[in-house]
């Protein structure tokens, strides 16, 4: 590649320019597509709950900033209606199978339900290594309890 025509000062500046343009583009597109993706996921959680005969429903997504947003270890987070807890959507990969799951963190500070999102995830669960979903479950539980403790201490 020929870059010798440029002066050294411009050459030094150009990597930063490339990095800045690329990062700005990624952030802009992520910002505009994230809302749409969260809405789709919220609809899927509601459908999974309805299929499981659970009366709980999603109210809104929890942004990844603010007092309740940081330090979440895995996945997209949603708030349930009537203060019935939170939902964490996470993906598990292992042994050539992957599944997207929703973990329900109840107001009693425990994970009382894990549901697969979509038919593909439901089929993948028996193929995942034993105990892998439990590992994620305990990570999410620990993370959510940590956030609760931090909010209470403020």
């Amino acid at each position: 590649m020929k870059g010798n025509e440029l002066s050294p000062s411009i050459s030094r500046f150009l990597p930063f320019l490339w990095w800045l343009v690329a990062t700005t583009l990624v952030v802009a597109i992520s910002f505009f597509s994230a809302n749409l993706e969260r809405k789709t996921l919220a609809d899927m959680i509601d459908r999974a709950l309805k299929a499981a005969g659970d009366s709980r429903r999603v109210e809104s997504s929890i942004p990844s900033w603010g007092p309740d947003g940081v330090a979440s270890l895995a996945g997209e987070r949603f708030l349930l209606k009537k203060n019935e807890g939170k939902v964490v959507v996470f993906t598990v990969n292992g042994s050539g199978a992957s599944a997207t799951l929703a973990a329900f963190y109840s107001s009693k500070k425990s994970i009382d339900l894990i549901l697969p999102l979509g038919e593909g995830s439901r089929q993948a669960i028996p193929r995942l290594p034993a105990g892998l979903i439990d590992t994620y479950k305990y990570r999410i539980l620990e993370s959510e309890q940590k956030i609760d403790r931090r909010i209470q201490s403020k």
Binding site: E37, M44, E119, Q123
Partner: protein, 214 residues
């Protein structure tokens, strides 16, 4: 004996199979056809556009920071493509999030040198599209063996994950189910590599690891 560069994208030393980084992707995304379709689509979008951008803006890329800029551009384009594909297929993109990260590695460790020896932007774009085609053909050849034996079905990506369009429950409970798991993929790839080297030697008389190998 022909020169390596004349042996084309598939058989040449700068082809997709000559780099182990592409095997990571081949190994990871070929258990479900839904994932193969997603990754192939992203590669078809990212490889040619990256080559076209890098070739057309060659004057703005200082030689000293060439590799860094190439990595930034291909990573950014992969991130943008995965965000765009997450609109129609949110669950498959989540399932493949880890594997999408291997696409920039596959591009920079692959045959990029050939792309920049191209005379024009269009030629670089076409060469990269051929690279993407080679990867897709290999991936589909693998998934057409792995998924029917492992899951007893073939799948396409949909908004709620993999949608199966034919299913045989008898096959999925068959002993060859291990083919869809990691161990089965390693065995299959071993056979493919052995076959690849044998055919390559027959065609061009030049083994992958040097002239002493037979």
């Amino acid at each position: 004996m022909k020169d390596d560069k004349d042996t084309g994208l598939f058989w040449g030393s700068e082809g997709q199979l000559s780099s182990l980084s592409c095997f990571v992707l081949l190994f990871a995304v070929t258990s479900r056809m839904a994932h193969t379709i997603l990754i192939s689509s992203v590669i078809f979008l990212v490889f040619p556009i990256t080559s076209a951008i890098l070739k057309s803006s060659a004057i703005l890329i200082p030689q000293r920071h060439d590799f860094f800029i190439r990595m930034v551009i291909v990573s950014a384009l992969t991130a943008i493509a995965s965000r765009l594909f997450s609109i129609p297929w949110p669950i498959p993109v989540r399932d493949c999030a880890f594997y999408l990260g291997a696409i920039p590695l596959c591009y920079v460790s692959g045959s990029y040198k050939l792309r920049f020896e191209s005379k024009s932007t269009l030629a670089a774009l076409v060469s990269s599209a051929k690279d993407a085609l080679v990867f897709s053909v290999l991936a589909f050849a693998l998934v057409l063996v792995r998924e029917p034996f492992g899951y007893g079905a073939l799948s396409v990506p949909g908004p709620e994950g993999a949608i199966e369009f034919f299913g045989l429950s008898a096959v999925s409970s068959f002993g060859a189910r291990f083919v869809s798991a990691g161990a089965g993929a390693f065995i299959l790839i071993g056979y493919i590599v052995a076959l690849y080297r044998k055919i390559r030697f027959r065609l061009y008389g030049k083994p992958l690891c040097g002239d002493n190998e037979r």
